[in-house]
C-alpha cells in the first residue's frame, strides 16, 4: 500500500509539474466542447427552407408559421410552382423545400394520412438529414395538433424516439455526451500510455524494477492520479454542456459520476496495457491514438449512428466501451434513466479485463 | 555576405581568438571573461570539472549560443554575428553522436554531405577519400546502429569532416570505447591536425590530455591554467595530467 501511495504521489507531482501537458489536459476538453458545440449549434440555426403552399388554407398557413418557431429554420423563399424547386437547389438558395399539396387541410381534418412533401438537397448529407428530420417533426406535431383539436382519429404518423427526446433536434444535446466519452478516452488513454513507456525510455523503470515492487502496485500507482484528472475533465465538459449549451440533465448526477468513473478506469486500463506492451514512447502514443481515439470517434455512435453501419462493423462497435458508455450517458442525461444493467455489466467486465491484462503484461524483467 | 569582410579582420595564424567571452544565465555566470588563442593546426585540450562552463563555452564558439559579452573569432568569423558562415567553417562531433542508426554508413555520409551542400561527384570523391582513412570502406552498406562503438565514433568524426572544416570541435569523443579504439581515434585526430585542421577537444580521460599540444583547465567559468602538458606539470609539480587536474581544480 505504501508503494502504491508513493507511486501515485510521484505521478501526481509529474502531472502538476509538467505545466504544458497539464494545460493541454485541462484546456483540450474545454476547447473541444466549445468548438463542437458552437459549430454544430450554428449549423442548425437559420437553415434556409423554401415553402410551396398549394393548399392556401388556414391549416397550411399555420404549418408554415410553426416552421420558424424553433429558430432553426428561416423561410427564405415562398415558391409559386413546383418547377422553382430545382433551380433553387442548384443556386444554393435553400437546403430544403416543404411542399404542401392541395387538399392537405381536408385530409388532415378527415384524419387521413396527409401527404406533405419534404424535398432536401442531399449534397450535404448531414445537414440534409437533420433538415428532413426536423421538417418531419414539425409536420407531425402540426398533424397531432389538428387531429386533437378536431377530435378526429389518431394521427397517422409513428414517432421516432430520437425526435421525441430531443424535440428540437439540438445537436449539442446529442454531442456533449459523445464528447465526454471522446475526451476521457483521449486524455486517459494517451496520458497513461505515455506513463510507463516514458519510464522505459528514460531508464527510471530499470531502477524501479530493482525494488521489491509488484506489477499490480505499479499499475495501481499509475492509475490513481489519472482517475482524478479524468474526473476533472468529465466535470468540465459536463459543466460547459449544461451551462453554455443547456444540455438537459434529466437523470441523477450520482449515476452520471459513477458511470464516468467506470469509463475512466476502462480508458486508463487501455492506456496502461498499450504502455506496458510498447517498446517506445512513440509507438505507445501512436497505438493509443489508433486504438482508442479513432474508434471512439467513428464507431461509438458519437457521430454516426451504430444502427446504420454494416453488420461486421456493428460487431466492432459493440466491442467498443465508448458505444455502451454513450448509450448510458445519453440515457442518463436526456432520458433520465439511471440504471442500465446490460451496459453496466459489459463496462464492468471490460474494466476488469483491461486492468488484469495491463498487470499481466507488465514485466518485472527487461526482456 | 559580410563574412568575407570579417575574415580580413581575423588575427593571422589563429583559428580561435577569444577575448573576454562571457555568458550569463540570470544571476549565474557560466562563462566568465574567457581569453583564449588557438593556433591553426593545433590540438587544443579544453578540460574542466563537470559544470565548469565548458559546454556553454563550446556552444558559443560553435554559434549555438549568443555571448552576453566579449568577442570570439573562430575560423576567421565573428561568433554570434555570422552564425551560418561560421557553421560552414567548423565541424562538431559530440559523444551523443548525431548519426542515424537506421541509415547505412553511405546514407549517413550522403545526408550530412547534403546538409553542407555537398553532393554528386564532389561528395563521392570526399567519401572515397575519408572512408578508407576511417577504416569504414568495407562497411559502407552497414546500418550505423549495427556498427561497433569504435566504428560509430569514427563515422561520426567522418561526417563532421566531410565539408573540410577549418576548426573541428570534439566534445568527449572517445567515451566508452576500448583503449585500442581510443588510440586509433587519436591517430585520426593527429592526421587531421597534420593536414592543417585545428582540433578543439574535451575529454575526461586525462591520458588523452597528454596528447594535446596545449591544454586549458576551466574552473567555475574561468580558465585557471593554459599551457603545454609539460608546462602544466612543471607549474603544479604534478606527476601526470590526472594529478595536475586534481591540484588545479581543488586549489
Amino acid at each position: 500500500m505504501k508503494r502504491v501511495r508513493a507511486l501515485a504521489a510521484k505521478e501526481l507531482l509529474h502531472i502538476l509539474r509538467d505545466r504544458r501537458s497539464l494545460a493541454v489536459a485541462v484546456l483540450m476538453p474545454v476547447v473541444m466542447v466549445a468548438l463542437y458545440g458552437a459549430v454544430i449549434d450554428m449549423e442548425m440555426h437559420d437553415l434556409p427552407v423554401a415553402v410551396l403552399d398549394q393548399d392556401h388554407s388556414d391549416n397550411s398557413r399555420e404549418l408554415v408559421r410553426s416552421l420558424g418557431a424553433g429558430g432553426f429554420i428561416v423561410e427564405t423563399a415562398r415558391l409559386e410552382q413546383a418547377a422553382q424547386v430545382e433551380p433553387g437547389f442548384r443556386r444554393g438558395a435553400f437546403m430544403a423545400a416543404l411542399v404542401i399539396p392541395r387538399g392537405y387541410s381536408r385530409s388532415v381534418a378527415d384524419g387521413e394520412p396527409a401527404t406533405v412533401q419534404v424535398l432536401v438537397d442531399g449534397s450535404d448529407a448531414a445537414t440534409a438529414a437533420m433538415a428532413a428530420n426536423y421538417l418531419q417533426a414539425v409536420v407531425q406535431r402540426e398533424a397531432r395538433r389538428i387531429a386533437a383539436g378536431s377530435g378526429g382519429g389518431a394521427p397517422a404518423f409513428t414517432v421516432r424516439p430520437r425526435v421525441w427526446f430531443n424535440p428540437e433536434l439540438r445537436s449539442a444535446h446529442f454531442v456533449v455526451p459523445g464528447l465526454v466519452a471522446l475526451v476521457l478516452m483521449m486524455i486517459c488513454a494517451i496520458l497513461t500510455s505515455i506513463a510507463i513507456a516514458r519510464e522505459k525510455e528514460t531508464g527510471t523503470l530499470e531502477q524501479i524494477l530493482t525494488t521489491p515492487i509488484r506489477p499490480a502496485e505499479v499499475i495501481a500507482g499509475k492509475v490513481l492520479p489519472y482517475v482524478g484528472l479524468g474526473a476533472l475533465d468529465a466535470a468540465l465538459i459536463l459543466a460547459i454542456g449544461r451551462f453554455a449549451f443547456h444540455v438537459p440533465m434529466n437523470g441523477s448526477w450520482f449515476a452520471l459520476a459513477a458511470y464516468c468513473l467506470l469509463f475512466i478506469v476502462i480508458a486508463l486500463g487501455a492506456g496502461l496495457l498499450i504502455s506496458a506492451k510498447s517498446p517506445s514512447l512513440r509507438v505507445a502514443m501512436m497505438a493509443a491514438v489508433t486504438v482508442t481515439m479513432l474508434p471512439t470517434m467513428i464507431l461509438s455512435g458519437f457521430m454516426f449512428p451504430v444502427s446504420s453501419m454494416p453488420a461486421p462493423l456493428q460487431v466492432l462497435c459493440r466491442l467498443l466501451p465508448a458505444t455502451h458508455f454513450l448509450v448510458v450517458l445519453r440515457g442518463v442525461m436526456l432520458r433520465g434513466v439511471n440504471w442500465f444493467p446490460h451496459e453496466t455489466a459489459i463496462l464492468a467486465v471490460q474494466a476488469v479485463v483491461l486492468l488484469v491484462l495491463a498487470i499481466r503484461s507488465f514485466r518485472l524483467r527487461l526482456e | 555576405m559580410s563574412a568575407t569582410s570579417s575574415t580580413s579582420t581575423s588575427v593571422d595564424g589563429l583559428a580561435v581568438h577569444v577575448r573576454g567571452l562571457t555568458r550569463r544565465f540570470g544571476d549565474f555566470t557560466a562563462v566568465d571573461g574567457l581569453d583564449l588563442d588557438v593556433r591553426e593546426g593545433e590540438i587544443f585540450g579544453f578540460l574542466g570539472a563537470n559544470g565548469a562552463g565548458k559546454t556553454t563555452a563550446i556552444r558559443m564558439l560553435c554559434g549555438l549560443l549568443q555571448p552576453s559579452s566579449g568577442s570570439a573569432m573562430v575560423a576567421g568569423v565573428e561568433v554570434g554575428r555570422h552564425a551560418r558562415e561560421l557553421k560552414r567553417r567548423i565541424g562538431y562531433m559530440s559523444q551523443r553522436f548525431s548519426l542515424y542508426d537506421d541509415l547505412t554508413v553511405d546514407e549517413n555520409v550522403e545526408f550530412f554531405g547534403g546538409i553542407y551542400g555537398l553532393e554528386g561527384a564532389p561528395l563521392r570523391e570526399r567519401s572515397e577519400e575519408l572512408l578508407p582513412l576511417l577504416g569504414l570502406a568495407d562497411r559502407r552498406r552497414t546500418q550505423a546502429g549495427a556498427l561497433p562503438l569504435g566504428y560509430k565514433q569514427r563515422l561520426a568524426l567522418g561526417c563532421s569532416l566531410l565539408h573540410r572544416p577549418r576548426v573541428l570541435f570534439l566534445d568527449e569523443p572517445t567515451g566508452g570505447v576500448d583503449p585500442v579504439a581510443r588510440r586509433r581515434f587519436w591517430d585520426l585526430i593527429y592526421a587531421q591536425a597534420a593536414a592543417g585542421t585545428t582540433v578543439f577537444v574535451t575529454t575526461h580521460y586525462m591520458d588523452e590530455a597528454e596528447y594535446c599540444g596545449r591544454v586549458s583547465i576551466m574552473v567555475q567559468g574561468k580558465l585557471v591554467a593554459l599551457d603545454t602538458p609539460g608546462g602544466l606539470k612543471a607549474l603544479t609539480g604534478g606527476r601526470d595530467m590526472q594529478d595536475v587536474f586534481l591540484r588545479l581544480v581543488e586549489a
Binding site: L13 | P179, M206, D240
Partner: protein, 309 residues
C-alpha cells in the same frame, strides 16, 4: 561459497547475439570488485542478471546466497542497483526522489528519517534538498543516485559505470565514498571504462567481448603481463613513433601512453633494435612494470586474434 555476490559460468545472449560468455566472479562482503572494459564488453548484462532484470541462459547468479532468478524479491530487498544512465526523476526534488525510493523499499518512517539525514550528510546534498534532480551537476546527480540506492541499507551494491563522463575530481570523491561503504561491510560490484580506476578496487575483472581477459587483485593482474615492457620518454614522441614504425621490428608493439611510449616486446634483441632506431632522438628507454591498461591491450589483441583465426 559464502560470498555476497557470485556469478558462476554465466552465459547470456540476446537472440543469437551473445553478450556474456562464461563469466565467473565472486565478491566477499567488505570488498570492491571492478568490472573493467569498454562498452559492449558485457558488463551491464552481467549486472542486470544479478539484479534479476534479466534471466541467465546458463550458469548461476546469487546474491547473499539467494538465486537471482528464483528468489528475485528476496535479492531485491538486500541489493542496491545504480543503472548506467541517470535514472532518477528530473522533475522531482532531491528530497522527493529519496522519499520515493524509501517508500518503494518499505523503509519504516523512523528509519527513513535517520537514513535520510545520514545520506544527505555523507553526500553533502543537504543544501540542495529542495532542488530538482534535473538541475544538479553531473557529480551531484551521481551522488543522489547512489544515495537512492542506499536508502534501504542494502548489503550488496551494484553500480554500472557510475563515473562515466564525470570529471576526475568528482570521480575521486565518488571512489572515496565507495571505499567507505566497503569499510562498512558492503559488497560492491562496480563497472568502469576507466582503466586507472582498477587500482581503487580490491579485485578486478578485465572484460572484453563477454569474457574475462584477466581477473584477480590489481597487482596480480598487472603481474600477469606475459611480455616485456620498455618505456620511452624524453623525445618527441611523434618522431620516435615514426622511427620505430620505419624500423619495422618484428614482434614489437608500440603504444602511446600519455606523455610516453610503451614498447611491448619479447626479447633483448627487439629491445636493442628499438634503442638503435631511437638513437640520436634523446629518447630514454627504461624497463617498466606493466599496468592494467598494458594487460588489457595485450590480452584483448590476443583474444581478437583467436577469434579471427
Amino acid at each position: 561459497m559464502n560470498d555476497a555476490i557470485v556469478l558462476d559460468g554465466l552465459f547470456k545472449g540476446y537472440g543469437a547475439v551473445p553478450a556474456v560468455r562464461g563469466l565467473s566472479l565472486s565478491v566477499p562482503a567488505g570488498t570492491i570488485c571492478g568490472l573493467i572494459g569498454p562498452d559492449g564488453a558485457g558488463k551491464t548484462t552481467a549486472m542486470r542478471v544479478l539484479c534479476g532484470l534479466l534471466r541467465a541462459d546458463r550458469g548461476a547468479a546469487r546474491v547473499l546466497g539467494h538465486d537471482c532468478a528464483t528468489a528475485a524479491l528476496e535479492v531485491k530487498r538486500h541489493l542496491g542497483y545504480m543503472p548506467q544512465r541517470f535514472s532518477l526523476y528530473p522533475d522531482l526534488t532531491v528530497g522527493e526522489n529519496l522519499r520515493f525510493f524509501a517508500d518503494l523499499f518499505d523503509v519504516p518512517a523512523a528509519e527513513r528519517k535517520r537514513r535520510d539525514a545520514e545520506l544527505m550528510a555523507f553526500s553533502r546534498l543537504e543544501p540542495f534538498r529542495g532542488r530538482r534532480a534535473g538541475q544538479l551537476s553531473g557529480g551531484m546527480k551521481q551522488k543522489l543516485a547512489l544515495s537512492c540506492t542506499l536508502i534501504h541499507t542494502p548489503a550488496v551494491l551494484i553500480l554500472d559505470e557510475p563515473t562515466t563522463g564525470v570529471d576526475p575530481v568528482s570521480r575521486r570523491e565518488f571512489w572515496r565514498i565507495l571505499r567507505e561503504l566497503a569499510g562498512n561491510g558492503l559488497a560492491l560490484l562496480v563497472s568502469t571504462p576507466y582503466m586507472d580506476e582498477a587500482a581503487l578496487c580490491d579485485d578486478i575483472v578485465l572484460m572484453h567481448a563477454g569474457r574475462a581477459l584477466a581477473q584477480g587483485t590489481p597487482a596480480a593482474v598487472a603481474a600477469s603481463f606475459p611480455r616485456r615492457l620498455l618505456e620511452v620518454t624524453g623525445a618527441d614522441l611523434i618522431e620516435a613513433g615514426r622511427r620505430l614504425r620505419e624500423a619495422s621490428i618484428v614482434g614489437l608493439d608500440v603504444q602511446r601512453y600519455g606523455d610516453c611510449l610503451h614498447l611491448v616486446h619479447d626479447d633483448q634483441a627487439q629491445a636493442d633494435a628499438a634503442a638503435r632506431a631511437l638513437a640520436g632522438t634523446g629518447a630514454v628507454l627504461a624497463p617498466l612494470a606493466a599496468g592494467i591498461e598494458d594487460v588489457f591491450v595485450e590480452m584483448m589483441s590476443r583474444a581478437d586474434a583467436e577469434v579471427a583465426m
